[in-house]
């Protein structure tokens, strides 16, 4: 029979590899959609939280605190098990996108808020003293500086988000984790290889993102050393 990692178990797994690839495809799809949703929500609520209007700030606070202080699994189970009683029934993948997207949106909102408030007050002063409106200052001066600051923490959020989509396994979501688990459970009992390969596949999805984040951080650091471009000759004195 052999242990949990016997040769026979590995052979079965490689015979059924397409199940794992399909699962990975679903996971990527859900992760991409959830990330999109998290970014949209995070930017909106992040801007709200730095607004001078108190109701917007409060709204943002409630959203962030609620989703940061309750487990993702409750939110998912709530949509999956409780909402059908009020007639709201959604496909598992949509639940994954909504649940994970809204959950991480709260974290993205905090990242965006921290990014915006880290811009020194002098930048606002300079922008307002030139006659930029609030929205124009945000767009041309504050947000471009914020983006370089928030990209690394956003990358980390994206990695967490990919990993958290595995929660779909709990509601039969058809994602990578679910496929691996049910493949092992239904007859083959090859849990060892199934989880090992699944771990490697998650690693392959996350690691490039981590790499990219690091490279981006370096690029920003080196930006200041960029070489100057063309400089036209000086105009005649006395202009």
């Amino acid at each position: 029979m052999g242990g949990p990692f016997s040769f026979r178990r590995w052979a079965r797994l490689f015979a059924d590899y397409s199940i794992f690839l399909e699962g990975m495809g679903i996971t990527l799809l859900v992760a991409a959609a959830a990330l999109g949703l998290a970014l949209v929500l995070g930017i909106i609520f992040g801007l709200f939280s730095t607004s001078s209007l108190r109701p917007l700030r409060s709204l943002s606070r409630v959203y962030v605190e609620f989703f940061q202080n309750t487990p993702l699994v409750i939110q998912i189970f709530f949509i999956y098990n409780a909402l059908p009683y009020v007639g709201i029934r959604m496909p598992e993948l949509l639940i994954g996108v909504l649940g994970v997207g809204v959950y991480h949106g709260a974290y993205v909102a905090e990242v965006v808020r921290a990014g915006i408030t880290s811009i020194p007050r002098g930048q606002w002063d300079a922008a307002r003293s030139q006659g930029f409106s609030y929205v124009q200052a945000m767009r041309h001066i504050i947000l471009p500086q914020t983006i370089t600051i928030v990209l690394p923490p956003l990358g980390n959020q994206a990695v967490n988000l990919i990993k958290n989509t595995s929660i779909l396994a709990l509601i039969a979501g058809g994602d990578l984790m679910y496929r691996a688990d049910s493949w092992a459970a239904n007859g083959t009992l090859s849990y060892g290889p199934a989880y090992a390969v699944t771990g490697v596949l998650y690693f392959l999805m996350c690691f490039p993102l981590v790499k990219w984040v690091r490279k981006h951080e370096l690029r920003i650091k080196n930006r200041d050393a960029r070489a100057p471009a063309d400089i036209p000759p000086a105009e005649k004195a006395g202009a």
Partner: protein, 240 residues
């Protein structure tokens, strides 16, 4: 060009400006001096709407500065140079200078850059056009900030202690630029501790103490025989 009628400003319980009346004609050069915390920065920040007076009125070119129009008014009339330069760090020197002309004054990029090159020459930093602010010395950053302020061609230029964050050896290069500017028909209000500059350039010197406009006079008179006791005390402290 600038008129303040009974301007008061409080932050909470702290009264920072008390009943300031001031009239500055077009083309006039004013320097404001006074002890730390006397409200000098707050006064010029009120003029370009970075702060709102608690009571009192401000007129620029005869038009009242209101909550509803201040962005437009500032865009039309004012430019400011800060103690800490406040250049936009994500933009090159040239882009710092062209941003407002392109985005606010709707100038074409080519035209805005032509203007920018001109003012880079005025401050003597043409060769620094394509570098980012963080690679410039303090004095160079401040000269770029002055070029940025000039490039919008406003009638009013406000300076808040433009040389006090600089190492001593860089102060003169910035003052030289400002002295050259003072020959133009621009209205300038300069908060400064550089008494030499005040004597050489100012049409009027204003002394602010504890939020009160204590004394204003042409520099000759102001420095030679100040009328107010507090002015005398302040001058004797900084001139010796």
């Amino acid at each position: 060009m600038i008129r303040l009628n009974g301007v008061c400003k409080s932050f909470g319980n702290l009264e920072v400006l008390r009943d300031i009346d001031l009239h500055v004609a077009e083309g006039e050069k004013i320097t404001i001096i006074g002890p730390s915390g006397s409200g000098k920065s707050t006064l010029i920040r009120c003029i370009n709407a970075l702060e709102r007076p608690t009571t009192g009125e401000i007129f620029l070119n005869g038009e009242p500065l209101l909550a509803s129009n201040h962005t437009q008014m500032v865009r039309m009339y004012c430019a400011m140079v800060f103690q800490q330069f406040n250049l936009y760090p994500h933009l090159t020197a040239l882009q710092n200078i062209t941003l407002a002309p392109v985005k606010l004054q709707k100038k074409g990029r080519a035209e805005a850059e032509e203007i920018a090159w001109h003012y880079l020459d005025v401050v003597g930093l043409r060769e620094k056009a394509h570098v980012y602010p963080s690679t410039l010395s303090g004095g160079q950053q401040q000269r770029i900030a002055i070029a940025r302020a000039l490039a919008t061609r406003q009638k009013i230029l406000l300076f808040d202690e433009p040389t006090s964050a600089l190492d001593p050896e860089m102060v003169q290069e910035v003052l030289d630029v400002m002295i050259r500017l003072s020959q133009e028909f621009i209205t300038m209000i300069v908060v400064t501790h550089e008494m030499g500059f005040a004597k050489q350039v100012a049409d009027r010197v204003i002394f602010l103490d504890n939020g009160v406009l204590v004394e204003e006079a042409p520099p000759g008179e102001f420095f030679a025989n100040p009328k107010n006791e507090r002015t005398r005390a302040f001058l004797s402290k900084i001139l010796h």
